[in-house]
Structure formats: C-alpha cells, structure tokens
Symmetry: C2
Subunit: 341 residues, 2 copies
C-alpha cells in the first residue's frame, strides 16, 4: 500500500484535499547532487546503471517532496535498443551518427527483446521501488513514436526537424514503417515496465506541436492511440503533447487517464478543448520558476484555482530548466502543499 496515493487518486478522478504535484525532469540538473553525479558518469552510464538511475530518481523525493517519482532515464534508450546508435554530446544534446533516411537504413532497425536490450531499465524500476519503499508512486515513461522518429531521422535536436518532416512528407511509406516499429517496441517496453512495478506511465510527444493538425493525425496520433489502447487496461496512462492543444479533444477520448498541457494553453482552454471531464496535468511555464519565490507561490495558487483542485495534477508545462535555483523548485512543490481552498 502506498503511503501517498494523491497522484493515483487524481488519475482516477477522485476528490482530493489538494492536487498532487510533480515536475517533469525533476530528477535533473537543478539538483546539486545530480550535478555531482553528472561530473562522474556520462549520460547513458547514468541511465544504464540501475544503482545510479535509482539514486537520481529518489533524489527529488527526499529533497523537494513531490507526490510522485519518475524514473531517471531518457526517451532515446528505445532507439538504442532498436539498434539505432545514440550518443549524448555535451552542449549539443542527442547525436545519432547514422540517421534513418532510406529503406536500407530502416531494414537494420530491429524490434528488440525488451529483457535483453532494456533489462537495465526494468532493474532500475525494481531497485527504485525498493528504495522508495511505497512512499510515493513511480511513473515510467516513453517518447511518442513521432518524437522518436524526429531524432532517428534528423540525427540531432532541431528547431523545426525539417529533415524528419521532409522524410515523412516525401517518403510516407517508409515513415509509417519506422513509426510502427517504434510503436510495437514501445508497447512491449511499457508492458514490461508495468510488470516491473511502475504505477503509471507517461507518453511524451515533445515534437507533436511541429505538425499541422492533419499531419498530426497521420504521423503521430494513431501511434499514440495504439500505445494507449494497449496499456489502458493495465495502468493509468498520461499523454503529454507539447504544443498539441489542437489534439486535446481527440486525446480526451483515447482512454488515457490524464492529459498534459503546456503553458500556452490556459486552464480554461485546456478544460474546454479536452471536454471538461478528463484529469489534466500542467502547466507552469518552466521559465516562470526564475521569478522571485513569492511570485512563484502566487502563480501556483492561481493556477490551481484556474484548473480546480480535482481531476488535476500540478506540474510544469515542460521539463524544469537547468538554471532554476533549488529553492525555487522547492517553493513550487511547497506552494501546492500550502494550497487551501
């Protein structure tokens, strides 16, 4: 039995005394202890070593007290498991030395055995559960197939992922083949995470907002829907599409337990667009954590009032920025705990 099940209650739409809170990338670079580990181990070593992933996942729980933990990992480990090489370059981000651009490239991409290629994530889930000792629930996650395609094809981060989009628009058959391979892998991966013990999963469609609503329906949404459909009977699923306000209505009918929204979508618009019934999660502008602490707390309280305390999970509208002072991150979490109607 979990000692704190506020997060799961909100996912089930139950009435709560206050909304739960966690922060995307809360196990991240704003934590001094994380930076100490970062100096000792490179990015994928931290992902692939269950002891390190566990230590990092638990850090924010002990130090700032959110109501859920999210496993320290990266959406790109799925591409690695599919035999697409991914490096993390300092100051540049993800780097794929051999991006997928042709049928020949695609033929080399495998649908991996999860235990064989991502066993370290499952070990990290089990180790983290032991370490958390039922204090708070643990969230597992995956990138959306579209977002993973963006990296696999572009070969690196990009403002507009023009090469990835050009690939989809000029070779749609190949694009759909890659998207389906990623989808099949992701479903198997998340099912194993469920078996290993996570309490909920979140799907990150970080680059869904680069597509027109029509292209989103062709290249992103059907694959997310496949994943939600395969998981929803097993575990609550949260879908977060950055910039995907235009798809909230479709998403609300998908069987997902909650939808993440970014800060460009007001609480009122988000409730309206999502039909008013589904649990929503978000949407504090991560850069707003650079405001003075009293303003952060005021902003959080106004946000809760705008979303309503029920069917709501307090979060940022995207990952926490590395340059956020530790005290400001803690003030964000504290503000939620101090909220009274």
């Amino acid at each position: 039995m979990l000692k704190n099940d506020l997060f799961l209650k909100a996912l089930r739409g139950e009435t709560v005394t206050r909304p739960p809170v966690w922060m995307m990338r809360q196990a991240g670079r704003y934590l001094p202890d994380f930076m100490a580990l970062k100096n000792k181990y490179d990015f994928f070593t931290r992902c692939q070593t269950p002891e390190l992933a566990t230590e990092i996942t638990v850090m924010p729980i002990d130090q700032i007290g959110p109501d859920a933990a999210i496993l320290f990992s990266d959406i790109l480990v799925v591409l690695q498991a599919m035999q697409i090489e991914v490096e993390m370059k300092e100051g540049m981000g993800p780097w794929i030395p051999s991006p997928i651009r042709t049928q020949k490239d695609l033929d080399k991409v495998i649908i991996p055995d999860i235990h064989e290629h991502l066993g370290y994530v499952l070990d990290a889930v089990k180790m983290t559960q032991k370490e958390l000792n039922s204090k708070v629930p643990l969230i597992g996650f995956a990138g959306s197939p579209w977002t993973l395609l963006c990296y696999a094809v572009q070969g690196q981060g990009s403002k507009n992922f023009d090469i990835a989009k050009g690939f989809c628009f000029s070779q749609p058959t190949l694009a759909h083949e890659l998207l389906q391979k990623i989808t099949t892998t992701t479903i198997a991966y998340l099912k194993e995470k469920v078996n290993a013990g996570v309490h909920a999963v979140q799907l990150f469609d970080s680059w869904g907002g680069l597509l027109s609503p029509e292209d989103y329906q062709e290249f992103s949404w059907p694959y997310l829907q496949q994943i939600v459909s395969a998981l929803k009977e097993l575990i609550p699923v949260i879908v977060f599409g950055k910039g995907c306000w235009f798809a909230l209505n479709e998403m609300s009918k998908s069987g997902a337990s909650a939808l993440g929204v970014d800060w460009t979508c007001s609480a009122r618009n988000a409730r309206y667009l999502s039909g008013g019934k589904i649990t929503l999660q978000g949407n504090f502008d991560p850069a707003r954590l650079l405001s003075p602490i009293p303003e952060i707390k005021k902003g959080v309280h106004e946000m809760i009032t705008a979303f309503g305390k029920d069917r709501y999970i307090v979060n940022l509208g995207h990952g926490i920025l590395p340059n956020i002072p530790f005290d400001h991150a803690r003030a964000f979490v504290d503000a939620v705990k101090e909220y009274t109607i």
Copy 2:
C-alpha cells in the same frame, strides 16, 4: 496605380476572384540567384546596400510571381540602430556580443533618428518601388518588441529563450523599459517606411508563442497594440504571431487589417478564434513544400477551400526553408493562381 492589387483588396476585405499569395522569406535562400549574391556579400551588407536589397526583393517577383513583394531586410536592423551590436554568424544565426542584462546595459540603448541610422532601408524601399514599377504592392516589416527583446537579452537564437524570459520575470521594470524603447523606435521606423512608399506593414512576433497567455498580455501584446494603433490610420497592418493562437481574439480587435496564423492552427480554429470577420494570412507548413508537387497543389487548394477565398491571403505558416526546391516554391504560387471555386 498598382497593376496587381489583389493583396490590398484582401487586406480591405473586398471580394476577389482568387486570394492573393506571397511567402514569408520569399526573398531567400531557396533561390539560386540569392545564393550567388550570398556568396559575394555578407548578410548585413546585403541588408544595408539598397541596390542589393532591391535586387533580392524583386527576384521572387520575377521568378515565381507572388502577388506582393516584401523588402529584403531583417528584424534585427532595429536593434543595430538602437546601438545594440548584432552580427550574423554562419551556421549559427544572430549573435549579440554584448547582450542587455542590466540597467547599465539598457542606459546605452538609444532611440535612434531613423533617417540617420536606418536611412539605407528607406533608400531600399524607394529603389525597390522604382524597380517594381507598380507591378505588385511592397510590404515593409518589423519584429515585435518582445521578439527583439528575446535576441537583445539572450544574445543569440535559442529554443526557449530562457535567459530572456528569466530577465523579464526577475527584472520586469527593466524589461518594460527596453520594450518601450523598442516600441517607440519601431513606430518611428515604420512611419518612415510608410513615407518612403510601402503599401502595408507586417509585424513578426516570432517568439510570442513562448509565453503563456498571461505573460503575452504583459510582455508582448501591449507593445504590438501600440504599434498597430500608431500605424493603422496610415496603412494596413498585418500581425503575425507564431504559436500565438491563444491571442487571436485580442488581436482581431486591435485595428490590424489581417492576422497571420501558423500551421498548427487550422483554418476553422483560426476563423473561430479571430471572430470570423478579419482577413487571415497563412498557413501552409513550410516543410510541406518538401512533398511532391501534385500533393503541394492539392494541399494549397484544400487550404483555400478551408479558409475561403475572401478575406484570405495565401502564405506559409512561417518562413520558407532553405532546402525547398525552387520548383516546389513556384508550384505553391502557381497552385493559388490555378484555384477555381
């Protein structure tokens, strides 16, 4: 008298036989002749030499035939005139060696005399008008004060302009002082462009979509409104805010003649959010020009049908990408001319 006044008719909301078309950044890197000039003269030399700016502005008119010309220039020339040094670095984009972060930095920023510091733009307008010989109208433009602040404070391009946002959120008084200086300069600049002979002006709020609706109302919109109010009696004003779907309603009441929308906002949403009466401009995904030509033409025709032929200006949803084949750009313009109800 203009030989082709379709664009101005659409701005006035008059009935037309087909909508006018132009492309943001149409005087750009997809043109082989532009690339030849780019190899000979650096970026700001091209902006600052009226003969070159004129040649580049007229290039797409002769070669692909849009219904309006837009002066070759850059939004950052306004910062340069305010004594903020701006360089354009190959492969990196804008670079501001001494970004504005403190009161001391801000005190050095001047409100320039337009003739003295931006006379070369006014000369380019006059020279271009002569060269165009009333073939099509000429659009002048400026960046929104918020978007210019982003560069002035961040010091370079950025995915999230975290430093610029942190500046606004932690030092709002300074931010407003800078925004007002930019606004005052921009109004004077655009009035002189009107005097020099442009037929319409467009305001580019390229980074407005990085702000929450509330912060947009604090740091971007009031300054855009000042500019629209100062210009609207003199000339038609188009406001284009990338990612600013949430502000379309406010924008529609501003006195602007038309609003630009990006491709994440469907025609139906854009008409609904903007109140259904104002002329809209957009919104083909620039990456969709990488599709095969028959699909481009089909997409353009569907887009016109969705927006309706009246109170509509066909455009991309953002600037044309450098890797677009010339024939594809021409097909976009041709498709509009081939449109029949």
